[in-house]
């Protein structure tokens, strides 16, 4: 097991790759009370066409299957619900599926061995039956309907559908009522056997733990299990053009204020010499400088009554593209879109803003290191996107020069976007 110091955090990080391929990261923080563990597989809602482990032909599985599988992973052969087993050790357990990964996690006070073993055991012992699959459909459909009640979620799904031509990110994570109803036990096992191999997963444990004790628990557990040799997963190659599938869509819902979502599709494969996580960071700074509460634009939109609340924004990774997603509630829809578009396309950040935001970025990193949840996320996201952890990111941020930053930002191509408008229904 290798030990690294995360510089500027006063925190150590331990790493080991087990014989079965599972990557383990351990972050002890002994002045915390909590323990937090996340077990992540590189299997997401995007993965619907691939060669299964026991075959050499491509198969297509129903939409939303990664999410369905996440629900079904909680089914156990002995019939005792997983939630109950974790409850015996006062742990909260849950899982999440995204367009980039699926993960399972628990947090607890103490009971490291019991909970960690439970986590590894339940994720690594699938038990799907026709009955359990049928039963889950009703629950998942209710989850889908819950999402449909939220206008922001609805706008997000429409934007995704219109942004992508080929990329499976165009589909909702949860799938559709039709695809949920179509999902079978066989589909689930096919996905499980292919994507839940330890060599396609990583485990991050943070909090009030001893690193040696932790790795020993994990090793003992893993060495007692047999896994088929890992076969490199072949997913259907998708070439996504830079243009969007549809530039605008307007829908109506039973709401009071119109919601506008502007999504830019930015090709990042042409921006060389920088890691995806670092590029993400500087793009985020660019958006913060131009759209956050400290931006002149936000102030202007509020003063002119175009917006009543601040602008919302985030960036999502989508293969060779970054998706810059901006939304707001406004009655002056066209003006809002024009103002945002005009501002971003200037590709500007003042030197003052850059250095101030950079200082904030460093502060945020230090503040985040107080939380075992943030620390766990720091590590997980870097491992997910880059297969390694940057132990000296604070120095990297400190060293970033305005000129270098501006050179990067000037390369962003914001010419492709889709606009989604959710309007109140006329009664």
């Amino acid at each position: 097991m290798n030990k690294y110091e995360i510089k500027g955090f006063d925190i150590d990080l331990y790493h080991e790759t087990l014989d079965n391929g599972l990557e383990v990261y351990i972050i002890p923080k002994n002045n915390s009370k909590n323990i937090y563990a996340t077990l992540t597989t590189r299997f997401s809602s995007n993965d619907i066409e691939f060669i299964p482990i026991d075959s050499n032909k491509f198969v297509k599985v129903p939409l939303g299957i990664a999410h369905f599988l996440e629900h079904q992973a909680f089914e156990q052969e002995n019939g005792k619900p997983i939630f109950e087993l974790f409850s015996e050790y006062s742990a909260n357990v849950n899982a999440a599926t995204s367009k980039n990964y699926t993960n399972y996690y628990f947090n607890s006070i103490g009971n490291l061995k019991e909970n960690l073993t439970l986590l590894l055991d339940f994720v690594q012992s699938p038990y799907f039956t026709d009955e359990s699959v049928e039963k889950e459909k009703g629950i998942i459909i209710q989850e889908l309907k819950m999402n449909e009640n939220n206008p922001y979620r609805v706008a997000e799904n429409i934007a995704a559908k219109n942004l992508f031509v080929n990329n499976n990110m165009k589909y909702p994570i949860i799938g559709t009522i039709e695809s949920i109803n179509k999902t079978t036990k066989k589909d689930l096992y096919k996905c499980y056997n292919t994507f839940y191999h330890p060599a396609n997963m990583f485990l991050v444990v943070s909090g009030n733990i001893d690193p040696i004790e932790t790795i020993n628990i994990i090793k003992e557990n893993q060495s007692s299990k047999k896994f088929a040799p890992f076969k490199k997963i072949i997913k259907k190659e998708i070439i996504e053009p830079d243009n969007v599938a549809k530039e605008k869509e307007v829908i109506e819902m039973d709401i009071s204020n119109p919601i506008v979502n502007i999504s830019y599709k930015v090709n990042i494969s042409k921006i060389k010499g920088i890691s995806i996580n670092n590029l993400y960071r500087w793009c985020h700074l660019f958006l913060a400088a131009n759209l956050s509460l400290t931006s002149e634009l936000n102030e202007k939109l509020i003063n002119e009554g175009i917006l009543t609340n601040n602008i919302d924004y985030y960036i999502e990774r989508a293969g060779n593209h970054f998706i810059i997603d901006i939304s707001g509630e406004t009655n002056k829809i066209d003006q809002f879109i024009q103002e945002i578009d005009k501002q971003l396309k200037k590709l500007e950040t003042s030197e003052n803003d850059f250095y101030r935001k950079k200082k904030c970025m460093i502060s945020n990193n230090i503040m985040g290191s107080d939380s075992i949840f943030s620390l766990n996320n720091f590590v997980s996201f870097q491992v997910l996107y880059e297969n390694k952890f940057d132990i000296d990111r604070i120095q990297y941020i400190k060293d970033m020069k305005y000129k270098t930053y501006m050179n990067l930002i000037k390369k962003l191509d914001l010419s492709n976007k889709t606009v989604t408008i959710v309007k109140p229904k006329n009664v």
Binding site: S87, E88, E136, I139
Partner: protein, 419 residues
């Protein structure tokens, strides 16, 4: 962790010293009992005072100032705590080791600017700024009311406790409030409100006291407050139900229960155990029966509004399953009052409670929150809570169950009737 309370006359200062965090946290609470439109005043003040100050003329400048303080994270909000409404300023910032030696005083200057140096001309808040805040508030309230679960719960409260004013019902009054009227209320609030200042972190007590004296400009001595708790005294013999139609995909079922006044022990401990068994998590009766066994929902929860002696059960369902869900909820509630539940759940609830009690120690605002409950709600300390919970028995849970009376059911009915 070392806690000290200083009764300083116009306010109480609570210092919770510990060296576990890289940040310090400050929370200033000004509480008062509100009548009529006053709840709306406090809401508007919480929105307005962070839009501009005498020194920082807009929220942009204010935000830049906070970024200069190593990105101090601040918020001003209006909170409800039983009979009281609270204007609450929270700020978290890197401590001296990670920022600089002036950070504590600089943060107090910043707080002073927000709370005591407002953007006022001729004894009135600026009307333009106020209009922006009003527009935002109206939009936010409308947005909330568009969400079926929020709408359902609000309607439930309206029916169960019509005397408790909800600012959602005051949307039409918002425009009538002038900058002068609001400023007068602000002055009155500083005079009348009961003020508590909580500081948590690796701080020098003398330095904090000095800064508080210098920057917290409140001089009027306050009388002691009253209990925050609201008792229920009108119980229905037969429950009442209401249906609101809304064009949404999923219906929202909201069930409200009134309780005979809980004892302090029940409020702090027994109700936690009861709720754990009934519907607070994935190991609860409702989750296992309504969701896992009958696949009727994705979310189902029970929650206690302890200060009001009220319990809610909420679920997102298809409206065609309304009666079935309701009867399953009733069945499970009855089970508890008859003692027909696994006693192991009581022990698990206790362990979860203790874990949660310790877990709070990982968050500075969590720690402050506990001391607020001790100060405001007559609750027990961390240590005592860890022990008292063990005293809850099955009989206690069944006794509490008998205090719970079904009162009102609200279904926000969506367009989900197709089979």
């Amino acid at each position: 962790m070392n806690y000290k309370k200083y009764e300083m006359g116009p306010y109480n200062l609570h210092i919770i010293k510990n060296d576990k965090f890289k940040t310090n946290a400050i929370e200033i609470k000004i509480k008062t009992i509100t009548k009529n439109k006053e709840a709306l005043y406090i809401q508007l003040l919480s929105d307005l005072l962070i839009k501009s100050t005498n020194k920082y003329k807009n929220s942009r400048q204010l935000e830049i100032a906070s970024e200069e303080l190593y990105n101090a994270v601040y918020s001003l909000s209006s909170k409800v705590s039983g009979k009281y409404k609270i204007l609450d300023l929270s700020i978290s910032f890197l401590n001296e080791k990670y920022a600089d030696e002036n950070i504590v005083e600089d943060v107090f200057k910043f707080i002073h600017e927000i709370l005591f140096n407002p953007d006022v001309h001729n004894n009135a808040f600026d009307e333009n700024r106020l209009n922006q805040v009003k527009a935002t508030l109206k939009d936010d309230l409308k947005f909330n009311l568009d969400i079926p679960s929020f709408l359902g719960k609000k309607k439930l409260n309206n029916i169960m406790n019509p005397e408790i004013l909800d600012i959602c019902d005051m949307i039409d009054d918002i425009d009538d409030i002038s900058g002068e009227e609001l400023y007068n209320y602000y002055l009155e609030l500083l005079k009348r409100g009961i003020v508590d200042i909580f500081v948590c972190g690796d701080v020098d007590e003398n330095k904090i006291k000095e800064n508080v004296t210098k920057y917290i400009e409140i001089n009027t001595i306050k009388r002691k407050g009253v209990s925050h708790y609201i008792k229920q005294d009108k119980f229905r013999k037969r429950s009442r139900s209401t249906i609101i139609e809304k064009d949404v995909s999923q219906s929202s079922l909201n069930i409200g229960y009134k309780l005979n006044t809980m004892t302090n022990f029940e409020t702090q401990y027994t109700s936690y155990v009861y709720n754990y068994i009934l519907g607070s998590g994935m190991n609860s009766l409702l989750f296992k029966d309504v969701r896992e066994k009958h696949s009727l929902c994705y979310t189902i929860n029970s929650t206690f509004a302890r200060l009001y002696n009220i319990m809610y059960v909420t679920a997102g369902i298809d409206s065609k399953n309304y009666k079935k869900t309701l009867s399953l909820v009733k069945k499970n509630i009855k089970k508890i009052s008859e003692g027909k539940f696994d006693e192991k759940a009581i022990e698990e609830a206790k362990e979860f409670f203790k874990a949660g009690n310790l877990s709070i120690l990982d968050s500075q605002f969590g720690i402050i929150g506990r001391f607020v409950s001790i100060e405001y709600l007559d609750q027990d300390s961390f240590d005592k809570r860890g022990k008292e919970i063990d005293k809850v028995t099955k009989e206690d849970v069944m006794k509490l169950a008998k205090k719970i009376h079904l009162d009102t059911i609200v279904l926000v009915k969506g367009s989900d009737t197709s089979e």
